[in-house]
């Protein structure tokens, strides 16, 4: 009796599961046939480690969709967005994108946020010869060299090295020239790349590395690290870190009195409004990479309107209230896709890709042209210095002069205060 029961059950269970998935798939197909908008699909980190950036990015992409539809859509057809939460987990990406492509029948895909979540999308896109817009990936295409991949982060043709070039150029220009440097980074994907690039630059600019270490991202106390760096007394400290460790390093440096002549470089998180308002004056003097700052040199057409809309929606959405870091770039990524669809008058993946490859686009983050490996033809990683920050009021970050652009030359909005200690007064 018992035997019979157990041997029939698994069959049912499996049949049930298979039937369930088939029904689900079938339902998706039916929906896809019902209307004819242009569909753009993406997975985005709405939960998990990267969601603090993923949510604002999705919000920006939605703003673009509304902007486009207000103007009558693309090729006379409305645009529809389909997005899923990738949970900041690369293992969900293959499932999400096959669902988007095969069940939802999207016309174009855009990547999720970050290198880790772009990587699993690459082979899917290549197998199907898709055009993909990548949102902030570092060197994703180095191994694949897939021609129809484009990436909106302005890291430039040699992402690893270009990342910190500005920081090193600024350092090398000071008089007397600083000599020694300490490199410190988290044991994670982006910091490893950034540190690898920085090591090359150390050689190129003729500095001497006196400290080169990494730490696990879940470190709680950064004062021992700051103290160890202080003990070797470097002229420059280059940090490649994620938000919690960026905050930890900045505070620890203040506490142990780590005062190199230049401090910063590749800290992710200092760009976030909540972090800026909490650290306040502790930020003064730090030279760090950035993508956008409310400086006169960065006021590209359309960006004011974008921020007006974004900041309105951000209040309700509980995301970064200013949104200066990622949102305009997420917007530009889809903006370029839209311009290319209009420009090539086509929904054909190859034609759109060809158009993107051979044209320059005027976006809310300025003029964008793509080069080798789908990266920006010319790097535009900014180096900014935090200057004259008083207290922790959020309003001060809306006006120019607090995050002064030092590099590159054509966007420069002020001069570096050197050494670091001078800017802290």
């Amino acid at each position: 009796m018992m035997r019979l029961r157990t041997s029939t059950l698994p069959g049912w269970a499996l049949v049930g599961a298979v039937a369930g998935t088939l029904v689900l798939a079938g339902a998706g197909v039916l929906v896809a046939r019902a209307a004819d908008p242009i569909r753009i699909g993406l997975g985005m980190a709405l939960t998990g480690g990267l969601s603090a950036n993923g949510k604002p990015a999705l919000m920006a992409i939605r703003i673009w969709k509304d902007d486009v539809n207000k103007k009558g859509g693309l090729l006379g057809r409305p645009v529809e967005l389909i997005s899923y939460d990738d949970q900041t987990n690369p293992a969900t990406v293959p499932g999400i994108y096959t669902k988007l492509l095969d069940v939802d029948k999207v016309d174009f895909v855009v990547s999720g946020y970050g290198t880790n979540l772009i990587a699993p999308l690459m082979p899917i896109a290549m197998e199907r010869k898709l055009t993909i817009m990548g949102i902030l990936g570092l060197a994703n295409n180095e191994k694949y060299k897939y021609p129809n991949y484009f990436q909106i982060q302005p890291s430039g043709p040699d992402p690893e090295a270009n990342w910190a070039t500005g920081f090193f150029e600024i350092a090398a220009r000071q008089n007397p020239k600083p000599q020694t440097i300490a490199l410190i980074g988290a044991d994670a994907e982006y910091p490893r790349h950034a540190i690898a690039g920085a090591r090359e630059l150390v050689k190129k600019f003729g500095f001497t590395a006196v400290y080169d270490k990494s730490y696990p991202p879940s470190t709680v106390d950064y004062t021992p690290i700051a103290r160890a760096i202080k003990a070797v007394n470097p002229d420059i400290v280059f940090v490649a870190s994620y938000p919690p460790d960026s905050v930890g390093m900045v505070r620890a440096a203040a506490e142990v009195g780590l005062q190199p002549k230049i401090f910063g470089g590749g800290m992710v998180g200092l760009q976030f409004t909540t972090v800026m308002t909490s650290l306040g004056p502790m930020l003064n003097g730090i030279v760090n990479y950035d993508f956008w700052a409310p400086e006169a040199t960065m006021m590209f057409p359309g960006i004011k309107e974008f921020f007006a809309e974004y900041q309105k929606r951000a209040k309700e959405g509980g995301v970064d209230p200013l949104g200066y870091y990622l949102p305009p770039y997420a917007y530009s990524a889809v903006q370029i896709l839209g311009l290319a669809i209009e420009g090539s008058k086509s929904l054909d993946q190859q034609k759109v890709a060809d158009y993107i490859r051979s044209n320059e686009f005027s976006t809310i983050v300025g003029k964008v042209r793509f080069g080798a490996n789908g990266e920006w033809a010319k790097s535009r990683v900014l180096q900014v210095q935090y200057q004259g920050i008083k207290g922790t009021d959020v309003e001060q970050f809306r006006v120019p002069g607090k995050k002064v652009v030092l590099y590159p030359e054509e966007f420069k909005s002020g001069n570096v205060i050197y050494p670091y200690s001078a800017a802290q007064k």
Partner: protein, 310 residues
């Protein structure tokens, strides 16, 4: 008779899988199906130790990732083919399983669970600092053109169907043999079992090794599935949670429990990922876990048994 019947069901399932693979249904089914089946393997493998022997392994991610990273190492070093990867991934993880088997000599209950968790952290740190397999940067695998099948999705799905069937058959065989009875005795009262002449250490070593083997097997094809492996996603806490929760939902005392649990919870998670797709996804998992352990403490199989008895 029993075993032959089970084998027949197993072959039928593989056949069904192959038919599904050949049918040309929507490719999404393969990708979602792969994940669900991967959890069938993980849950079943975990249950050999956790359900049968009562030792709660909290280091599932360590075994899974070890399988995945063994594959990466062999791909990088020897361009080894997939079958070799699966076997080696399993064997390396089995070695680790043997190691934790000796831990059971001294550690029981929650102590054992915490030790396996600690093992996972140590192993993750090793991988993070091992540049050859990508280190913290992660490893990008460029898949060669797919052999024999229409696409990698179909191949991996079929492979997972087969692996799941084999794992379940092995678990079922063990459960019904003297080994299974010995493990059950050990679970109920280890000292008493030892006194009765049950070779507890040998049984425990067998269970940890076998469980480790199949957890490694589940992880071995993972690099081909995601094509990009980095430590924090290979050592994801979700594997530990699911490995525990799925058998618990299905019922831990029979081989069927983890299968049902994995199919249900795995499918629910897949569906939720592409339907609800927000924080609510995790909320539902949380609520389901709480409700299940509170309302159906013996799992679904236990619930069904209870209902039938009435």
């Amino acid at each position: 008779m029993k075993t032959r019947g089970a084998l027949a069901v197993g072959v039928a399932v593989i056949g069904l899988g192959l038919a599904l693979a050949g049918l040309g249904v929507n490719p999404y089914v393969y990708f979602a199906g792969y994940v669900v089946l991967q959890y069938v393997v993980i849950a079943t493998a975990w249950n050999v130790l956790g359900g049968y022997a009562g030792y709660v392994n909290f280091g599932t991610p360590a075994f899974f990732a070890l399988g995945a990273y063994t594959s990466i190492f062999l791909i990088e070093a020897l361009r080894a083919p997939l079958p070799v990867l699966i076997l080696s991934g399993g064997l390396v993880a089995a070695l680790l399983g043997l190691g934790i088997g000796y831990l059971t000599l001294r550690l029981k209950g929650v102590f054992f669970s915490i030790a396996t968790f600690a093992l996972s952290v140590v192993l993750q740190t090793l991988i993070i600092n091992w540049e050859y397999v990508g280190g913290a940067k992660g490893y990008t695998l460029i898949r060669p053109p797919v052999p024999f099948f229409r696409s990698w999705g179909v191949l991996l799905f079929t492979l997972m169907v087969a692996l799941a069937v084999v794992t379940v058959l092995v678990a079922r065989t063990i459960e019904r043999s003297w080994i299974g009875r010995g493990l059950a005795a050990l679970r109920d009262d280890e000292d008493a079992a030892e006194c009765m002449g049950v070779p507890t250490l040998r049984l425990k070593l067998f269970a940890t090794t076998l469980s480790g083997f199949f957890l490694g097997v589940a992880g071995a094809p993972f690099p081909y599935y995601v094509t990009y492996v980095e430590p924090s996603s290979a050592f994801d806490l979700n594997y530990a949670v699911n490995a525990l929760a799925m058998p618990m939902i299905g019922g831990t005392t029979t081989w069927l429990g983890p299968v049902i649990g994995a199919v249900l919870l795995g499918t629910a998670q897949q569906v939720a990922t592409v339907t609800i797709s927000s924080e609510l996804n995790l909320l539902i998992v949380g609520v389901v876990l709480v409700l299940f352990v509170v309302l159906a403490p013996e799992g679904l199989t236990g619930l069904v048994r209870k209902l039938r008895r009435r």
